[in-house]
Point group: C2
Chain length 723, copies 2
């Protein structure tokens, strides 16, 4: 079962209902065979044999080539299976020999295998053939196959180190699962989580993912009682909807924190790594967040975030309030600055809270929010209690330098009666402060060493609470079903479609000739825009097919002359039957671009961005998978870097986010429901004092994949994928 074979409904989280995923044999085997166990200690097979030596179940080295095998080394998996169960085969052979070895293991009863070596799809045509052979064996036999091209996995709670990386066996058992595209990143993260005092429940490096995919492991973890949070590392995605379904299912019960590589151009090296094609970084991030994952920018924040979320999860909330308590003003200022950058709500404290604080704090300290306790002392617990009792506070982020002899932070935490969760930063050095941090972790309090780490932890808890608020908000009321009819769509038909979707447009007339255009000028509120009306022309403005601000019949004639000349250019197909669109001009405002298109990996997506070349150059765009609820779509503008322009910038209009959300959701519905539509874009959708109005619209049929349309799609992709 490969990632791409799942197909099915793209939208719900219920696609995966299989009672058994077969991954128990992989991650919880009764017995293991090491195929390719070698006498040479530098060889992979010897390293694996050392790694699994501590496994408490049956372990059987296999070497079919050694004419004089050492004692206990078997000539085949079949022979090994005679001495005990072999659920899992660890294959340490050159690429060309792996498919046969996996087939033989399956025949001997193994239900799972790991193929470690490289030389597959990442290494050229011959390797691609070996990889196809592996995929065939997995499909034919039903054996679950991890890899190839991976350093394996760790399940320290089972005493199982199915990895060749020295030191991997020292990673302590914990409650965090790592699911990494790369074996190296899997180990790097497991080591960092161990150092941070967390450990891992399971840590898996996917490698080339010929059979077992990220989605498979995530689905497996949804039923794992030993895992409370999941760290996800993504390099590329084969089946977008299967991944997001798995994340959504898992995130309902366990927080998922995701690090997506590829913000910048790393294509050539990435392709050499796993042989996979590049996936859009932005779309992947947007899709994961929409499914409920918390996004991070680097592996340190990943460790901070998943560590905090493995201990504390806030109730679903759009804007949970953070009470900031600091024993030193300077680090508190760093913390506050960082939290503001994460758009954390740091609410004013109530009068009761301030009264309570005034009783325990000296008068010179800052007692708003942040609360600065001045020198930390025995009153610290009382401060935490007072802030926790404030009804605007859902979470306390506290920072203190460790001050042995002055006050005991662990004792303070033990006496706190407050009912809101606590996340702490404890500055200091040496074994004593490490002891304090361990003691806090044991009490279920996430703890960082510095303000930035504390802000990252706090931000992760808030992002998770926000995501759950969204994912539990439903997809809104069902919308009117609109039938787009067959393409092509000229601007008039596209706007008729928008009208049916409830999107306002300006009064307009489609005119078959100049006389009709003159009648339209007389009848419509002026001034008007006059445009070439031809579905085959996607760039009207660029060829001179648009004239704005036309007020008089003379001006209209001049405009029609110019448009006819533009439309009669040699590249146009029907120079003699030109039609015109005459439309009332819209008032001034702020231009948006909204649209829906098909992503090759994730399927229908909707996009919201600001209009104009600057926004385009900055790739300032918000993306969601479609279909989606209007409420979810209404949250998209807040993600734009330039969102201030939509909130009454310099006295301008304020965006009605509900109306925008309904428009965007309607476009998404339309695309999701009609496979014949490749793309629909409103550019610009103008925000005016009277509300939103669509000034131009393009609607492209799926089959209309000629050169011009391909170029258009490439532009949209460039915009979305740019840095």
């Amino acid at each position: 079962m490969t990632d791409t074979a799942s197909g099915g409904a793209p939208t719900t989280a219920t696609a995966f209902d299989a009672p058994s995923d077969g991954l128990d044999a992989l991650f919880a085997p009764r017995g293991i065979a090491v195929i390719g166990a070698s006498r040479d200690p530098a060889k992979l097979g010897a390293a694996l044999a050392r790694s699994v030596a501590a496994f408490p179940g049956h372990v059987a080295p296999v070497n079919a080539r050694d004419p004089e095998p050492a004692s206990g080394v078997h000539a085949s998996v079949e022979e090994a299976a005679e001495h005990g169960p072999v659920d899992l085969a660890l294959v340490c052979l050159p690429a060309r020999a792996c498919a046969d070895a996996v087939a033989e293991a399956a025949k001997a009863g193994a239900r799972a295998a790991v193929v470690y070596g490289g030389g597959f799809a990442e290494a050229g045509p011959e390797g691609e053939r070996y990889q196809r052979e592996l995929a065939d064996v997995a499909e034919r036999t039903g054996i679950r196959l991890l890899g190839p091209n991976t350093s394996g996995f760790l399940a320290p709670g089972r005493g199982l180190t199915a990895s060749f990386v020295p030191g991997a066996a020292d990673v302590p058992t914990g409650r965090i699962a790592v699911v990494a595209a790369s074996g190296g990143v899997n180990h790097a993260l497991a080591f960092l989580l161990g150092e941070a005092g967390h450990g891992v429940s399971l840590a898996v490096g996917l490698g080339n993912s010929v059979d077992v995919t990220t989605a498979d492991v995530l689905n497996h973890l949804a039923d794992d009682p030993h895992t409370t949070a999941v760290a996800l590392h993504i390099e590329s995605v084969a089946d977008g909807r299967r991944l997001t379904d798995a994340v959504a299912r898992l995130a309902a019960t366990r927080p998922v924190v995701a690090l997506v590589v590829g913000r910048h151009d790393v294509g050539a090296f990435a392709a050499s790594h796993t042989g996979a094609l590049a996936t859009s970084w932005r779309t992947t991030r947007a899709a994961l967040a929409q499914a409920g994952a918390v996004l991070v920018d680097d592996e340190r924040e990943l460790v901070d975030a998943v560590g905090a979320l493995s201990l504390v999860r806030l109730p679903a909330a759009a804007d949970a309030g953070v009470g900031v308590v600091t024993a030193q003003a300077g680090p508190g200022l760093l913390l506050l600055d960082d939290l503001r950058g994460r758009r954390a709500a740091v609410p004013e404290l109530g009068a009761d809270t301030r009264r309570a604080l005034a009783e325990v704090l000296p008068p010179l300290t800052y007692q708003a929010n942040p609360v600065d306790t001045g020198r930390p002392g025995p009153g610290f617990a009382a401060v935490l209690d007072a802030v926790a009792a404030d009804e605007a506070v859902d979470l306390i982020a506290g920072y203190a330098l460790h001050e042995p002899g002055t006050f005991d932070l662990v004792e303070a935490v033990d006496t706190v009666r407050g009912s809101v969760p606590l996340v702490l930063g404890v500055g200091g050095a040496g074994e004593d402060v490490r002891r304090v941090r361990r003691a806090l972790l044991e009490r279920g309090v996430p703890v960082a060493a510095d303000p930035h780490g504390l802000a990252a932890m706090t931000g992760a808890l808030l992002a998770d609470a926000r995501a759950r608020r969204r994912t539990t908000a439903g997809t809104g009321a069902p919308r009117v079903a609109v039938e787009p009819g067959p393409g092509p769509w000229d601007e008039d038909r596209a706007k008729t479609l928008l009208g049916a979707l409830g999107v306002p447009t300006m009064p307009r007339r489609a005119c078959a000739d100049r006389a009709e255009a003159h009648r339209a000028l007389a009848e419509l509120p002026g001034p008007v825009a006059v445009k070439l009306l031809d579905a085959a022309v996607l760039h009207k403005t660029e060829i001179g097919g648009v004239r704005l601000g036309v007020r008089t019949p003379d001006e209209l004639d001049a405009a029609l002359d110019a448009i006819e000349a533009a439309g009669a250019s040699p590249t146009r197909r029907q120079p003699h039957s030109q039609r015109f669109l005459v439309e009332s001009m819209a008032p001034a405002g702020v231009d948006l671009v909204v649209g829906a298109r098909r992503d090759p990996v994730f399927g229908p997506v909707v996009l919201v961005g600001l209009g104009g070349t600057t926004a385009e150059a900055l790739a300032d765009v918000s993306i969601r998978l479609a279909p989606l609820g209007a409420e979810e779509a209404a949250a998209m503008p807040a993600e734009l870097a330039g969102h201030a322009l939509l909130d009454g910038w310099r006295g301008g209009p304020v965006l009605d986010r509900t109306a925008l959300g309904e428009t965007v959701a309607a476009l998404g519905d339309l695309l999701a429901a009609h496979a014949g539509l490749a793309e629909i874009e409103i550019n610009p959708l103008r925000l005016t004092a009277q509300g939103l109005v669509a000034l131009d619209a393009v609607c492209i049929a799926a089959e209309a994949a000629d050169a011009e349309h391909a170029a258009e799609t490439t532009e949209a992709a460039a915009r979305e994928g740019g840095d």
Copy 2:
């Protein structure tokens, strides 16, 4: 000597030539008195007495109030000085008693003091008075005063812990100096540097900076043989030029890494902290970078950056080439992605290098740049050597998981013959990997635990090399001196000024009446723009004082009617003597905004941004202090988020950066040389296929500070200081 008292020439790095800054008495005293030494162990004075107990010089506790002082406790500093030298007084008294105590210490021969307590300018009017009294004592007696409102400083190499924070004495001696606005941040950073294996040479928390300022400490460090790099934490700046002069002087010999707080709105809490006014975050960062500092975004990156720079400094280079070597592809991909985000040059390796790599690496590994070594092995050193020999490589960033038994990274580093510096990331957990990291640090190799830390270190080395390339490039040839004459300047006079500065404008006529306007229309290449010409009107477009695209006499009359109506509005002063500017329209292009204005902290600054509201809302602007060289100014557009728009976006024009740099430098020169000018702005400066052309210009006299001008300045500040 307070920060604000220095004044003097704002531009050169030679302002500070004092042979002795008096800070030796503070940081390297022969003897110390603790004023307010207390018998109560919880009191500040008792904590300080414990902290300095280990000091190898003379230590004298002083308590003037205790009727029965303990043995060895003196009743006055004068008495204490009879038993040994007292260079430094540590004052642990309430705010109201500090000025007298410092005066008494000065009288008894102390040449430096630290005032620890709060309750000064950060705490309201009474505290402000106490702070003025302290400043007066310092100025009158010449005693150098650190604080008030600070936790002090550490000089572990001298056995001196002049801090009340427990554990501060455990920070090891190192080569990095910390200069922090906040005592808490000073300690937090010192602890982090200790944990990272670096330690500190000196770590100072400035507090309220009534006498000793950040600039003073930086100047002191420029002569400190024990310091090889400086970590700088800035909350606000009193005298911008004195700070940048100190940074420039220090950075010439020792790298300076700066963390500036206040990216987001933290004003209220910040004011409560030290009583200082907010300083523009963007301008402060720009000024520090221009002076040669490396900027970081959080305290972890600060530790990474200053740690690396304390061991390695690259030669000055605009784009030093990084050779990326990784033993695991996945972490290497994270590293490459991160480096690309830092605009690091990761050049193609030469044919010789590839040949050499092919000899030591297995064929399946990626051998471009990054170089993926596959499984790390004994060949690792040979790989490092081969990459180091490549002429495009100035620095190697290498990552490997620690693999005891497989290969020894320390041994590999010891055998490397390559001549370029090495920065390493070593993943793994446990005491063994910590030992490896320590061994690498001892060999002068900066080492991180993860790819992100490695990227931060590498980025810091590159930024330092780039800054030195800039600061050593000189300020360019002297430019033509232009005399702006007296204000006010209408658009025509402002453009005449631009013309004298060498900035192109379109052909234009200033017209005293309608007849002149008609003559201008007939003579100028059309179409033309027609504008109200009145120096008192700063927002011509907004009141309807601009008409574009005028081609015929009829259109001109209509335009003049409209402009006269707009100009005759009740708010205009001279409705009956209107003048007009008639100007040929410029071709289409990309609009920039460039200008020069006076920053209240840093003085003359120049700004470059993209035109339009989106760029404005995003505060996408590059800032430099003026005067500056044209070469430095030419580097400004590259800092804009939307810089792609200037590089031939969608077939558009490509910016001549030299021409832009000359224009910006000329504006900066003009403002720096003429105190009568408050601001000059070209908005827009259009980038066309024929080059840059100024379409509108505003020039404001310093004395013209009426309501309208104040509003304009506020807008400029809002733009520059936004989020």
